[in-house]
């Protein structure tokens, strides 16, 4: 016969019907001849029954509080959604307005102060003789003209 200690460690699972069939049968056979284990099982069943008997209910006031919390949470969600949509609409409206402004203002009237001083022309005219290292009168004239033009452009700004 199995030791009672071994049975007792599995009695809880036996009570719940959670043991494999062979172990369930083994314990049933033991219980048939062991009054001490029978008593332990009876105590276990009694405690379970007492626990399951216990009941409690939500009062109408408690139920109402839960419903109110639900309503409040729903309003908060609706408000958040509405605010989110409004913010998105405002951003879209601002972007669209800026786009229209860009279309409506003619390009000739735009500010030219942002145009960078042009030095690329100087490079362009000097590039031809960069390899010769020799002074070229034509190149000197071209460089002088570009420099003058640039000075004129900058003074307009």
């Amino acid at each position: 016969m199995k030791n009672c200690n071994d049975i007792l460690t599995r009695l809880s699972a036996y009570h719940d019907g959670e043991l494999p069939a062979d172990q369930q049968q083994e314990i049933t056979a033991h219980l048939a001849v062991c009054s001490a284990c029978q008593q332990t099982l009876a105590d276990l069943q009694q405690t379970s029954a007492q626990l399951r008997q216990w009941s409690v209910t939500l009062s109408p006031l408690q139920q109402e509080r839960i419903v109110q919390a639900y309503q409040q949470r729903r309003w908060q969600r609706t408000l958040r959604t509405a605010l989110g949509l409004s913010a998105a609409a405002a951003v879209i409206a601002i972007i669209a307005s800026l786009g229209w402004l860009n279309v409506l203002i003619p390009s000739s009237s735009k500010d030219v102060t942002t145009v960078a001083p042009s030095t690329w022309e100087m490079v362009a005219v000097a590039r031809d003789d960069a390899t010769t290292q020799a002074s070229n009168p034509d190149q000197d004239v071209a460089l002088w003209m570009v420099a003058s033009l640039n000075e004129g452009g900058n003074s307009r700004e």
Binding site: T9, L11, S12, A13, D16, E18, A42, D43, L44, Q45, Q46, T47, S48, A49, Q50, L51, R52, Q53, W54, S55, V56, T57, L58, Q62, Q63, R65, I66, V67, A69, Y70, Q71, R73, R74, R77
Partner: protein, 181 residues
Amino acid sequence: MSESDAELISRAKRGDEHAFRALLALHGDSLYRTACMLLGQREGAEDVVQETFLAASVGLHRFEGRASLRTWLGGILVRQAALWHRRQKTQRAPAPLADADLPAARDAPGGVDVRMDVLAMLGRLPAEQREILTLREFEGMSYEQIATVLGIPVGTVDSRLHRARQALKVCLAEYQEGTRS
């Protein structure tokens, strides 16, 4: 899932307050009882039930109907109770119940008139043991379901439940001894 549950869920998903009230009437008491058991007291149980229903109302679109609505709500409740415990740890110790709040189960099998203060006894157990007893005795979950909900192996469910029942037996014996003397 019962037909009434399915209809109520469908309406509650659309924000129908009457459907929400009906779901609360159907499952509120049972969830409240489980919440009391999980917390080992009434204080906070209403909050846990409230948060459970609010979380459920937000997540209803994720409910696929594979389990019953009650089982689904039970899973949410267990998580909300765990959150409540976590918050309490950072705040203060739970207050003991007033005598008027203590429920009793009379006339236990065996003919012994045992006035068993279920909540007070469960309240003496560690949260871990109280939790597993609640899931088994009140939620009627199988060991496998408990293992899934708590994220522990089935073998641990078995041993933890065994220890919880032994501890409860000791509490019950002390309680009965106290009432006799």
